[in-house]
């Protein structure tokens, strides 16, 4: 499988423990910078409400898992797996990396 990497912003554009939305091809992706400067990318669409808002949620942890809470109705999504911890739902997870200070999101 070939991964196509799309640059979306500089690493320093990101706030720790907050997200931004990025357009990657046709996909809306929510990009998060964690407390330890690790990066995660999941689909931006909140499957419960249908609105593209997950990038605007509060980032934190549940147990040891990094999560974002949907700003619409507060369901938590595991940023590693895309699994919703409070409802029967799941969002896609995207590969993400930093190259030369630039954040890149991967799509297949």
């Amino acid at each position: 499988m070939i991964v196509v990497w799309t640059p979306v912003c500089r690493f320093t554009d990101l706030l720790a423990e907050r997200g931004v939305a990025a357009l990657v091809g046709d996909a809306q992706v929510a990009v998060f910078r964690l407390h330890d400067d690790g990066l995660r990318a999941i689909g931006n669409r909140d499957p419960v409400s249908g609105a593209h808002v997950l990038s605007r949620g509060v980032v934190g942890t549940r147990g040891d898992r990094p999560v974002v809470a949907s700003p619409m109705h507060k369901q938590a999504y595991d940023l590693d797996t895309g699994e919703c911890l409070d409802a029967d739902a799941r969002v896609p997870v995207f590969p993400i990396r930093v190259r030369g200070g630039v954040v890149e999101v991967g799509t297949a």
């Binding site: 554009d13 706030l15 907050r18 939305a21 964690l34 409400s49 808002v53 509060v58 942890t61």
Partner: protein
């Protein structure tokens, strides 16, 4: 079908409320014919009227009339034509399919000569109390005939009116229906300490007028001289209407009903004090409520029966706790008496001491809830523990009745807890337990704790502290960031509960702009974008319009902005204007226009002061007595931007007509001829609640100082997302505690609270203007980090009534 209810006392009111709640299909349309000119009020607490409670505060119908109910006040039923099924009043005729008689009772006045003399009163209605009050003015002494429940209530009323008070009771001791001789003696001792003279075993034989004074003669040669006499020697059922209609009545009075509360005419029911259930009348409210519930069930096709009622009583008479429950004498009575502390307790047991039959408590009734619920079973715990002050820790059986007013068992409470009721208000709402006399609330708390429901005050998995504890930690230790707080006092990296809470605490303590530095990451989306998120991911914009007052020029600017950005426009309930459908990247452009026209953030997105509504007040209104708009504007500007545990709403009305609906607000102000009345703890929403009177007739400075302290104390001590009403309810001592702290400064906090508010007022800046002037903050208002001005392609609008509305939410 048509239901006519005759009487709007406590039981009649309970009936129409219960019917409104259960008759979800609207099968019954209800007409209530009430003799009094007021809606149902709390007759149990009548003497509170002389402690400053208003008639309005005693009302049992704060929320108004249930829909489908027509209440006709001051229109007593005159006759019932059972053949035609019509009730007649002076004003008209009311046909019925079912009729409920809830006519209550009338005061019993012993047939002694002179009982109609000037200066003689009864004690039953608010009108009786008003007559009593106006007569008592300028006089110095009063005698109550009757030393039972009602008589001692009346004695309290006379005492509160400043009269030297005596009580004359025919029986050998006080409260003969509830207490034994020793309990009555202890009560007498406590009451005498208050300066009330008690004459028991004394029959009144005659009253004689002596100029302005009255002389009360008794069988024991005692003659008492007094200004006035109140007869409170019991009540008799009002069955005259039923008698005239040919319904069967009991031998000793009362409308005869079966256990379904049906009279001798199956279309006619009787409930409350006027009903003689299988011959027996009940003079307490709890059995009346149980009867009302049975009739409602029957009206809706059910088969409920009245199975007799618990006549247990617990009350505070003249500041003394008195309780009696079950049988007050058994084969084996265990007694504890402590005259030094004015305590008396007696438990009635079966001869093997194995079963509790009932008991009496005087001076300390803490154990009442536990003991009453245990009647019929073994004494729950060590006998001796109950016979001194306080309530020991014990387990109750499941069938034990926790709330006797509403007949709720321990099992029912546990079931509600199991269904997710996590605190006392939730249990109350779900089961009705604790909603009448409130004496079982401590028991509800301990059941919640026993059930292991997180009465833990931990905020979330990241902090073992309550919001109040976190507030104090942050304030006292001078912590300025979430990271410092969570690494020092918590675990993990926080969540959508603790982060916005800490953000709010930091903001309340004045840590600069809510989007400064690390604080930005703590805010939930509304505070992060300073706008309210909507279902499609767009936001709404609400500029501040203090007091609801706006110039035509500014109104035009709002219209132009809405038009130019294609925003749906709606007037809010808080007298401002909501502009909906703004995309994230449009927000700065919208606010640039609004700020240029002099608008600032309305904080509709924040847990903060929202609006201070007002009516036009004395400036324009021919009824207004104060400048309500001026005060509302001043208050809104004073408290704007103040972050709190929950949103805060307020209103100012310029006269008692209350057009601004101030009593539905967290703090509401109503103008009086002399100044302002302050009400606190109101809200609309899921559980509407009227605010309680807190201060009367104060000047503007006193008012503002008190509101300053009220808000700051709330901010410091309330739980997360706890509105002021629930907060006041949760304070140990409620409104009295609040008054002690912020009016009498009992905790020595006031200077600190005043200073905190002064800092808030001095440091205010407009959040939106600050953002527009800060390129770093502005950079966050983009749709996509790599396509900052490309609109979210999933957002689209249709049109409804000429305005844009969200369309095509992808499923």
């Amino acid at each position: 079908m048509r239901l006519v209810v005759v009487g709007n006392g406590m039981v009649g009111q309970r009936l129409i409320e219960a019917l409104a709640a259960r008759d979800t299909e609207g099968r019954w349309s209800v007409t209530v014919l009430a003799e009094e000119h007021r809606r149902a009020y709390d007759r149990v607490r009548l003497s509170a009227y002389f402690e400053g409670a208003t008639a309005e505060e005693l009302t049992l119908a704060p929320a108004g009339v249930p829909s489908g109910t027509d209440i006709r006040l001051g229109e007593p039923a005159l006759s019932v034509d059972r053949a035609a099924r019509v009730v007649r009043t002076a004003a008209g005729a009311y046909p019925y399919d079912a009729l409920v008689l809830a006519t209550g009772s009338f005061p019993f006045v012993p047939p002694v000569p002179g009982r109609d003399a000037r200066g003689c009163f009864v004690y039953r209605t608010l009108d009786d109390l008003e007559a009593l009050r106006s007569y008592a003015s300028g006089r110095s002494s009063g005698i109550v005939v009757g030393g039972g429940l009602l008589g001692l209530e009346a004695a309290n009323a006379l005492r509160l009116l400043g009269l030297r008070t005596s009580v004359v009771e025919f029986a050998p001791h006080l409260m003969p229906m509830q207490l034994d001789a020793a309990g009555g003696a202890m009560l007498r001792r406590r009451i005498s300490e208050l300066g009330i003279a008690v004459h028991t075993g004394t029959a009144v034989t005659a009253l004689a007028t002596d100029g302005e004074r009255l002389r009360v003669d008794t069988a024991g040669d005692l003659a008492l001289d007094t200004d006035l006499v109140v007869f409170a020697a019991g009540v008799r059922p009002r069955d005259d209407l039923a008698r005239a209609a040919g319904l069967a009545v009991a031998e000793r009075g009362g409308i005869l009903v079966d256990d379904a509360l049906r009279t001798s005419d199956p279309a006619v029911y009787a409930v409350g004090e006027c009903a003689a259930v299988e011959g027996r009348c009940y003079g307490l409210v709890a059995p009346g409520y149980a009867m009302a519930d049975v009739v409602v069930d029957r009206l809706l096709g059910g088969t409920a029966c009245f199975g007799g009622a618990d006549t247990s009583t617990k009350l505070k008479l003249l500041g003394v706790d008195v309780a009696s429950f079950g049988q007050t004498a058994g084969a084996l009575d265990v007694v504890y008496a402590d005259p030094a502390n004015g305590l008396y307790a007696k438990l009635a047991l079966t001869d093997d001491a194995g079963t509790l039959l009932g008991g009496i408590l005087v001076g300390d009734a803490t154990a009442y809830g536990t003991l009453r619920a245990a009647v019929g079973g073994p004494v729950p715990g060590k006998l001796a523990d109950f016979l001194s002050a306080g309530a020991p820790d014990v387990a109750l059986p499941g069938h034990a009745q926790v709330c006797s007013c509403n007949n709720v068992t321990k099992d029912a409470v546990l079931a509600a807890i199991g269904d997710g009721c996590g605190d006392v208000p939730a249990v109350k709402a779900c089961t009705r337990a604790g909603t009448t006399c409130g004496s079982c609330v401590p028991l509800l708390k301990s059941l919640l704790a026993e059930a292991g429901v997180a009465q833990s005050t931990a905020l979330c998995e990241h902090f073992a502290y309550s919001r109040q504890e976190l507030f104090d930690l942050v304030r006292v230790r001078g912590i300025r960031t979430f990271s410092a707080l969570v690494s020092g006092y918590g675990r993990g990296r926080g969540c959508d509960i603790c982060k916005p809470t800490v953000a709010s605490i930091l903001a309340s303590l004045g840590n600069g702009h809510v989007l400064d530095g690390e604080q930005a990451a703590l805010q939930d989306t509304n505070d992060h974008f300073l706008a309210n998120i909507q279902r499609d991911g767009t936001y709404s914009v609400v500029p501040r319009i203090p007091g609801g007052e706006i110039t035509p020029e500014r109104l035009i600017v709002i219209g132009e902005v809405a038009r130019d950005f294609g925003l749906y426009t709606k007037i809010t309930g808080g007298q401002r204007i909501d502009l909906l459908g703004a995309r994230v990247e449009q927000l700065p452009d919208i606010w640039r226009r609004l700020v240029a026209a002099g608008f600032e953030s309305g904080h509709a997105y924040g847990k903060a002061l929202r609006t201070v509504k007002s009516c036009v007040g004395s400036t324009w209104c021919r009824y207004g007595v104060q400048d309500s708009v001026g005060l509302a504007v001043a208050l809104e500007l004073r408290y704007r931007g103040l972050r709190a545990p929950h949103k805060i709403k307020s209103a100012v009305s310029g006269c008692a007509r209350e057009c601004a609906e101030a009593r539905s607000k967290d703090f509401g102000i109503i103008a009086t001829e002399q100044g302002w009345n302050l009400y606190v703890g109101g809200n609309g929403g899921f559980r509407p609640r009227h605010a309680d009177l807190f201060l009367s007739d104060v000047d503007t400075d006193t008012l503002v100082r008190t509101v300053d302290r009220f808000l700051m104390y709330y901010i410091r001590t309330a739980d997360r997302l706890q509105r002021t009403a629930a907060w006041i309810e949760s304070l140990d001592g409620g409104l009295d505690h609040l008054r002690a702290v912020i009016v009498d400064d009992s905790l020595g906090l006031c200077a600190d609270l005043d200073e905190a508010m002064a800092r808030h007022v001095a440091s205010h800046t407009d959040e939106w203007r600050d953002v527009l002037e800060d390129p770093v903050k502005l950079r966050r208002f983009v749709s996509f980090v790599n396509a900052p001005s490309t609109p979210d392609p999933s957002i689209s609008f249709g049109s409804e009534r000429g305005q844009p509305v969200p369309l095509g939410m992808p499923s």
